[in-house]
Structures are given as structure tokens and as C-alpha cells.
């Protein structure tokens, strides 16, 4: 089995090293992330696998806290006859003599034994002398260094200064990678840049890039299919009630089932994206402990989603278009004309027999109205788009803004109609519609 590429994640304290590892691993449980110096005091490692093969080993190191003093120490050891790498190794070997640099020695030890270094930079910081010293020291390990520019959205001018400073150190290959606002393309570029730095591992990294891209696309597809199934199940919900006035218990039945369906979908999507209920609670989404905080049927929810609150109750709409639904689910298929007629009668009686029976008893069926389905769609789409852009290290709050009204994606009415029709149709038709609506959702997500 081939040895994995060893990447040590290094940098000044509190720049987001552990966050980078969390995001690359898609694991919010890796290490500890706190808003204070020296949170990571040991070297922790985890491997990225393709199948059973470890491709990359990421080593999270403690932060470099006092590079100026460290540089002075190293300067004393340096001599003209010995390479910088040997000097660094000697300093690491004599670690017990420098207890004040215990953390830095851990970093240097990893730097010496890695294939490459990911040097994480907090771009909100000015380019102080200590950072120049850090780069200077790390270069002594004679390993390729890829600067990872974190927190890139705060100050473009500052970012440019960092780029310039890194270029002056000969570090022209750089990558912008915000560990909180995740962008798959940034991760893609990170591995691409590593390809240029690690020629011997080019093909391994290409395999990893391809694998990651496939996983990313599959994840999106899986999530949209899951949401499509939730929408279908909501569209299928129906309950018998009095013909003229919906009974409260019937309405409650609809509501509770719709809530349960939406809740299960939320849990599944979070699970698929490897976020836990705790992650969501941290963000103060309208979700707490894995539960939507605002009720699906609350007028505030509809208002937040920019939906028409005139339909207010969002309780249910009577199934009125019986004929339409009856024939919508029927296609001739392989049937002969006679078969189709017989089949239609059979199919119709199976689907609408209960409704006709209720009708004879002076009762009718109600289902979720369009506004409720719209609300379910928008909430799930928003959740998905938010989490697709969320790194596994993100701890800040993502708040659903009331000002920014969400818009129903174009083409939704016809998809909604297809879902309603499929709800009245066979299992096979339903599977087909779930696939189609899932594909449509993926396109809508891309446009969002």
C-alpha cells in the first residue's frame, strides 16, 4: 500500500489551522477550535481515504506563537558550513533544552518530516515582522510551502499585501481558502496547487481531486433527491374530513405529519452533509437541536419566506381536481386499448375508491395547500444552499434574513403539479418524479 502524502498544517496561533483540517476532512469533531491562543497543543492527525487507501495525511500542529524569539535562537545555532535544515533538525533534537519553545519544536518536527506544509494565514492581520520570521523559519525545513489565505473576505487591500509579502518570499503558489465560508472550487484549487508543488504525487492528487469532485456532485444530488422525496410525501398527504368545514383534528393530522416529514428530511440532509444537530444549534438557524424553530404553519414562517400569507392557515386544500388527478397518473404504457380501459378503471378505483366512499358519507379529503408546499421547498432549499457553503469549522451564526426574501425558483409550479399527480399515481411513477424533481432542484440550487 502506498504511503499517503503527509501535509502539515502550520501557522501562527489562532489563524484557523484546525478549522482547515476540519473542513478538508468534512469532520466538525476534529480537534478543538477556540477563540484563544494555544488551543491546539499537540499534533493531531487524520487521513483522507479513497476506498481503503489513505491518500493524504493531514497533521494539525500547535500555533507558532513567538517566531521572533525562535529566530534569534536558531540564528545562534546556524553556521556557514551546515544547511538550514540540519540546523533545524539539531534544534528539534535538542528540544528539552528549550522548554519555552515546546510548541514550536512540535511544529518544526512535523515540518521536517512532511511532504509539504500548508501555511495558514489570517488575512485580517497586517503583515508584521513575526510573520516574515515564521516563513523564514519554515523555509529552513526545505519542504514545499503552500500558503493558505484564510478569512479572505474582510479586507481586499490587506489580502493583496499578504500576496505581495508571500511573493517576496518566493511563495508564488498561494490559495484562498475560507474555512468558514466553504467553496468547493477553493478546495479543488488547493489540491491543484499541491500538484504543482509535489510533482511526484501528481497522479495521486489528481485521483483525489476527481474523487472529491464526484463525491461533491453525488452529495448535492443525494440531498436534492432527498428533498424531492420529502416534497412528494408532503404532496401525497391527505386526510378525510367533513365536506364543508375541515375538522380541527384532521387539520392537526395534516400539520403534524407535514412537520414530521419536514423534520425527517432536515435530519437526513444534515446527516448526509455530516453536520450534526449540535452544529445547527450553534448557528442559530431557525433550527435548534435539529428541530425547526419556527413552525411550518406559523404566519411568520410564510412571511420570512416571502410567501403569500393571505392563504393564512396553510392548512389544506380540498382535492378538487379529481378527474385531472385520476387521468394524470395513467399512461397507456404497454397496454392495449382494452387493457388501458380496464386498467384505468382498476387504477381509478384503487386510488379514488376511498374518496368516493367518503364522498358518499358526506366527507371529503383535504391535502396540504400550495403555499405550504412552497414553504417546505424554500426552507429545504435554503438549508441546503446554506450548508453547501458552510465549512465544517464554522461556528458563527448563519441567520436567515427577513429582509432577503427568498424567491420560488422558476418552473416550480409545474414541478409541484407533477408531485401532486405522482402522489395520486403508482410507486413507479413516484420514483420517476422524485428523480425528475431532484434534478430540477439541483439546477435551481446552482442558479441560487
Amino acid at each position: 500500500m502506498r504511503q499517503p502524502i503527509i501535509l502539515s498544517v502550520v501557522g501562527h496561533t489562532n489563524t484557523g489551522k484546525t478549522s482547515l483540517v476540519r473542513t478538508l476532512l468534512r469532520n466538525s469533531g476534529f480537534g478543538e477550535v477556540l477563540d484563544s491562543a494555544g488551543t491546539t497543543r499537540h499534533v493531531e492527525t487524520a487521513q483522507i481515504l479513497i476506498g481503503r487507501q489513505a491518500v493524504i495525511e493531514l497533521r494539525d500542529t500547535p500555533g507558532l506563537e513567538d517566531s521572533i524569539a525562535l529566530a534569534e535562537q536558531l540564528q545562534q545555532l546556524e553556521s556557514m558550513d551546515v544547511s538550514s535544515r540540519i540546523t533545524l533538525q539539531a534544534f528539534v533534537d535538542a528540544g528539552v533544552e528549550h522548554p519555552e519553545f515546546e510548541q514550536e519544536i512540535k511544529v518544526l518536527k512535523q515540518a521536517l518530516h512532511s511532504d509539504a506544509l500548508l501555511y495558514v494565514i489570517d488575512c485580517r492581520e497586517a503583515v508584521f515582522a513575526k510573520y516574515h520570521q515564521e516563513i523564514h523559519i519554515l523555509k529552513k525545513a526545505a519542504r514545499p510551502i503552500l500558503p493558505v489565505l484564510n478569512f479572505i473576505n474582510s479586507d481586499p487591500a490587506q489580502l493583496e499585501q499578504w500576496r505581495q509579502a508571500l511573493a517576496e518570499h518566493g511563495l508564488h503558489a498561494q490559495v484562498s481558502f475560507d474555512t468558514v465560508a466553504f467553496d468547493f472550487e477553493a478546495e479543488y484549487r488547493l489540491y491543484q496547487k499541491l500538484q504543482t508543488l509535489l510533482e511526484a504525487h501528481y497522479q495521486t492528487l489528481q485521483t483525489l481531486i476527481d474523487h472529491r469532485r464526484q463525491q461533491w456532485l453525488e452529495l448535492q444530488s443525494t440531498c436534492t433527491q432527498r428533498i424531492a422525496r420529502c416534497l412528494l410525501n408532503c404532496a401525497k398527504l391527505r386526510v378525510a374530513t367533513r365536506e364543508n368545514t375541515a375538522e380541527p383534528e384532521s387539520i392537526e393530522y395534516l400539520r403534524s405529519h407535514a412537520r414530521a416529514l419536514e423534520q425527517t428530511c432536515l435530519t437526513d440532509v444534515l446527516e448526509l452533509m455530516q453536520f450534526s444537530a449540535t452544529d445547527v444549534a450553534l448557528t442559530q438557524l431557525p433550527v435548534s437541536n435539529g428541530q425547526w424553530q419556527l413552525d411550518l404553519f406559523s404566519p411568520q414562517t410564510l412571511k420570512n419566506l416571502g410567501l403569500d400569507t393571505a392563504s393564512a392557515a396553510a392548512t389544506g386544500a380540498a382535492i378538487g381536481a379529481g378527474v385531472d388527478i385520476l387521468f394524470a397518473g395513467i399512461s397507456l404504457g404497454a397496454a392495449t386499448a382494452t387493457g388501458a380501459a380496464l386498467g384505468a378503471a382498476w387504477h381509478g378505483s384503487k386510488r379514488f375508491g376511498k374518496e368516493l366512499w367518503q364522498k358518499l358519507q358526506g366527507r371529503t379529503f383535504i391535502c396540504l395547500d400550495d403555499t405550504t408546499l412552497d414553504a417546505v421547498l424554500l426552507r429545504q432549499l435554503w438549508l441546503l444552499s446554506t450548508f453547501l457553503q458552510r465549512g465544517h469549522a464554522a461556528q458563527s451564526q448563519a441567520i436567515m434574513s427577513n429582509e432577503k426574501k427568498l424567491k420560488l425558483p422558476p418552473g416550480w409550479p409545474s414541478q409541484r403539479q407533477a408531485l401532486r399527480r405522482a402522489g395520486a399515481s403508482t410507486g413507479q411513477d413516484q420514483e420517476q418524479v422524485v428523480t425528475e424533481v431532484g434534478n430540477w432542484l439541483q439546477k435551481a440550487l446552482t442558479n441560487t
Partner: protein, 468 residues
């Protein structure tokens, strides 16, 4: 049922339909509360798919699982064989019935029409409909077929294993991606059996009875029949069969030319049977093969929905995309209990008016008025500035306020610089610059650091500035 396996894992490129169904059947069993495996390890598996198949194969070694998985296909095979046999029998009987009333003279083209007419019509309808299958999302026939299959599923508490596995098997046969071709194949095979019965029936009758063959028409000419007969006989001639010649066909035009020769009877009998095989049975078999090919293509394209929570759980448990994290260079220092961030309040105390100001790693763009103050000495960013400013401070008798951004973490480098200044400073103040984005934990860190460095609370102040 709990077992531990370490099974061989074959390197599978793609899963066969059989593999996929069996994996799905195992899912159905486990989701229906049948705990089959507590642990399954196979380090040799090249992919998760292959691992699933290996696991399924291992589980099949359990008798009850094997029986449950094989119940539906075995039942289905028995039903298919029985139906095939019945249809063949029906074909024989219908041929016998068709010819039972006939005298010893048979009208060739009437008999061909009777035997092939309905078959040809239904084949034509199927072909027309097949052209639209791509746009058809479902249909009544698949729905009825599905319902029929569901009726075959055994019910009852003691049958729960078989029931769960059989439901999956039957549903998979009628997956929307290929159910049209699957049902089409069944229909063509059914017709094939029936036509085979017809052929067998004819053979039986021709073997035991003697018929003379004629063609008759009121409005069609003899040339038409000759051409039609020769055109129909062409494929038979390619197969080396002797068919009636033009003269023979002309001779068979009316009953008046009788008596027949034995050779001509044989030629017409072979012509009839051959036409039934070539124009009835063969197209049906070809159509069945086409359906089979398209069905297989659909089956290959059908993928397991690995996004289902069941598979995700298995994948996470046995096939993770990352390894568990491990500490390879531990911290040997005394572990510090993480403190719960509490709300810290630092007063905005007025700094003495005669104080000098010193910056410590302040961002050049920080909107802090102190930069412009005549009492501002400069800022420490490296060893050189630390030495030069320390020398200057040591000459001062006035208080020195050290300004530092509170949203920085007080790392060892900053603390060393602070200590370096404090050695030379007689009346130090710590001015923490608050841009409004400082977390409670950072305030707490700074208070603790300040106390460690010897600052009294009265020497610490907060300066509010606008965010950068």
C-alpha cells in the same frame, strides 16, 4: 441473528442486477427489524459496492436469509415455466380446434391469417407503443403487474423474512427504468410459447391426418397469389427447404386440380410451418431479445440508492472517507481546564493626561486617534523596535499606555514584548482597543494575561473604536 464474518471480497467493476437486488433484499430484512450482522470486516474490498456484495454473500450463508432471498425468484421461475407450458398447450389446442372442423382440404392463406393475424396485429401495436416508451413514466399494465406480484408475497408473522425480501425482488423487476422492456419481454415470450404450441399442433395434425392445400379468391388474381407465395417462401428457400414451385402454386389454385401428389402436400405443410416459424415465432423471439437487451441496459443503469440512511450508516461505520483522528505528538504540560467564557467588563478609565502612548502590533488601518497624538511614541512590531522604544521609555517619568487590539489573542510573542516594555516602564497602563467584535473569551484572556504581567485593574482601560 448476529454473526461476525471476514469474507473474501472480489474486485467487482460493476454490480450485477442480481447483486443489487440481493443487497436491497438484505436492506429490507434489516430495516424490518431483522438484525443480521453485528460486525463485518473485510479489508480487501476495493469499493463500498463490492463490500456490500461480499457482506450479502456472507449473510446468504445463513439458511433463513438464503431461503428468504430465493423465495421470490424460485416462485417466479415456477410460475413462468407453468405459464409457458400452459400457453404451449393452449397453442396446440387452439390449432387443433381451428382445424378440427376443417375437411381434408385446407385454404393455405386463410389458415396463415388465422394463425398469424392477431399475433401480427398485437406485435404492430406493441411496436408503435414501444416508440413512445421513453416518454412514458409509468402505466396501468406495470401497476397491475406490480399488484399481481404483490399478491404472490407470502403474508403472516412467520413469513416476515420471506415477505420483506420478496417485496423487494418483485418491485425491482418492475423498476420504472426498464419495466416496459421487462413486460414486453414477458409478452413476447408468452406469444412465442403460444406460437410454438401452434407449430407443434400443426406438426401433430399433419403427422396424423392428410390434408390437401388450396388457395381461393374471388377478386384476387392467380399472379398475386403466386407472387405472395414465392415472396413468403424466399426465407424458407434460404434455409434449404423445398417450397412449391410456380406451377405447383398455380395447380393449387382451385380444388379442381386435385388429386394432390404427396410431395406437394409435404411442400405446402412445410411452407405453412415455416411461415409460422419465420413470420410468427422468429419476430417474437427477436422482439424478446431486443427487450432483453434494453432491459439489461436499464438494469445496469439502475443504481443502489446509497444515499439512504441505511447505506450511509453502514458506510460511515465500515467504509469511512477519513480515518479517526489520532494524537501523534502529545502535549505533556499540565492540562488546563477550559474556562467557560463569562461576561467580562473592563471600564473605560481615563488614562492620565500626561501619559505617552505606545502601540503593540496595531493594524496600520486601525481607526485609532492615538496614531495622530503628539504623545504617541510609535509601535513595537519586531526586536529592533522593541529595543529602540524600550530605550526611549526608560528615559520617561510619565505614565506609558500600551495600546493593543483586544481581538488579538495574547500569545507568547505578545506577552514577551509586553514584558520587555514593562521592564523599562515606571507607570504602565494597558489600553485594550475594542472594535466591537471582541468575544468574551478574548476579554477574559486579556484580563488574565494583564494580571499575570502585574497590571492592576486600575491600570487597564478600554478604548472603543469603530470597526475597521
Amino acid at each position: 441473528m448476529v454473526s461476525t464474518f471476514n469474507n473474501t471480497c472480489w474486485p467487482l467493476v460493476t454490480l450485477s442486477f442480481q447483486n443489487k437486488i440481493e443487497v436491497e433484499q438484505i436492506r429490507a430484512l434489516e430495516e424490518n427489524g431483522h438484525a443480521l450482522v453485528a460486525r463485518f470486516d473485510s479489508e480487501q474490498c476495493p469499493s463500498f459496492d463490492a463490500w456490500l456484495v461480499a457482506r450479502t454473500n456472507a449473510l446468504k450463508q445463513q439458511g433463513a436469509v438464503q431461503a428468504a432471498l430465493q423465495y421470490a425468484p424460485a416462485l417466479y421461475s415456477r410460475i413462468l415455466l407453468s405459464v409457458g407450458f400452459l400457453l404451449t398447450l393452449l397453442g396446440i389446442v387452439s390449432t387443433g380446434s381451428l382445424l378440427s372442423q376443417a375437411q381434408s382440404t385446407l385454404n393455405i392463406f386463410w389458415l396463415l391469417g388465422a394463425l398469424l393475424g392477431i399475433n401480427a396485429l398485437s406485435l404492430f401495436i406493441w411496436m408503435v407503443l414501444a416508440a413512445n416508451f421513453r416518454n412514458s413514466s409509468g402505466g396501468v399494465i406495470p401497476a397491475i403487474a406490480h399488484q399481481l406480484m404483490i399478491w404472490l408475497i407470502p403474508s403472516g408473522q412467520d413469513q416476515s423474512y420471506k415477505s420483506a425480501a420478496s417485496r423487494v425482488w418483485f418491485t425491482a423487476q418492475l423498476h420504472p427504468q426498464f419495466h416496459h422492456w421487462y413486460l414486453g419481454r414477458l409478452a413476447h415470450l408468452a406469444w412465442s410459447f403460444f406460437l410454438l404450441g401452434n407449430i407443434l399442433g400443426l406438426l401433430l395434425l399433419f403427422a396424423t391426418r392428410q390434408f390437401d392445400f388450396v388457395w381461393e379468391s374471388t377478386i384476387l388474381s392467380a399472379d398475386t397469389f403466386i407472387q405472395l407465395s414465392q415472396w413468403l417462401a424466399t426465407p424458407l428457400q434460404w434455409l434449404g427447404l423445398t417450397t412449391p414451385s410456380e406451377a405447383d402454386i398455380l395447380r393449387s389454385g382451385t380444388a379442381a386440380v386435385l388429386p394432390y401428389s404427396g410431395e406437394l402436400r409435404q411442400q405446402w405443410a412445410l411452407f405453412l410451418i415455416g411461415c409460422l416459424a419465420i413470420y410468427g415465432l422468429l419476430p417474437r423471439l427477436i422482439a424478446a431479445l431486443v427487450c432483453l437487451g434494453l432491459e439489461h441496459r436499464g438494469r445496469r443503469q439502475w443504481k443502489l440508492d446509497l444515499s439512504l440512511p441505511y447505506y450511509r450508516q453502514l458506510q460511515r461505520q465500515y467504509w469511512p472517507s477519513t480515518t479517526q483522528s489520532a494524537v501523534i505528538d502529545p502535549d505533556h504540560s499540565q492540562p488546563v481546564e477550559p474556562k467557560q467564557p463569562s461576561e467580562v467588563s473592563i471600564a473605560e478609565r481615563p488614562v492620565p493626561t500626561d501619559a505617552h502612548w505606545l502601540g503593540l502590533e496595531l493594524h496600520p488601518q486601525l481607526p485609532w486617534p492615538g496614531f495622530e497624538s503628539p504623545a504617541y511614541l510609535g509601535q513595537i512590531t519586531d526586536s529592533q523596535s522593541l529595543h529602540s522604544l524600550s530605550a526611549r521609555i526608560s528615559e520617561l517619568n510619565t505614565p506609558v499606555a500600551i495600546a493593543i487590539e483586544a481581538n488579538k489573542v495574547p500569545d507568547r510573542g505578545l506577552q514577551r514584548n509586553l514584558r520587555g516594555i514593562l521592564v523599562h516602564c515606571r507607570h504602565p497602563w494597558l489600553a485594550l482597543i475594542d472594535n466591537g467584535n471582541v468575544s468574551d473569551s478574548k476579554w477574559q484572556n486579556w484580563i488574565e494575561t494583564a494580571h499575570t504581567l502585574g497590571f492592576a485593574d486600575t491600570q487597564i482601560t478600554r478604548i472603543k473604536v469603530m470597526s475597521k
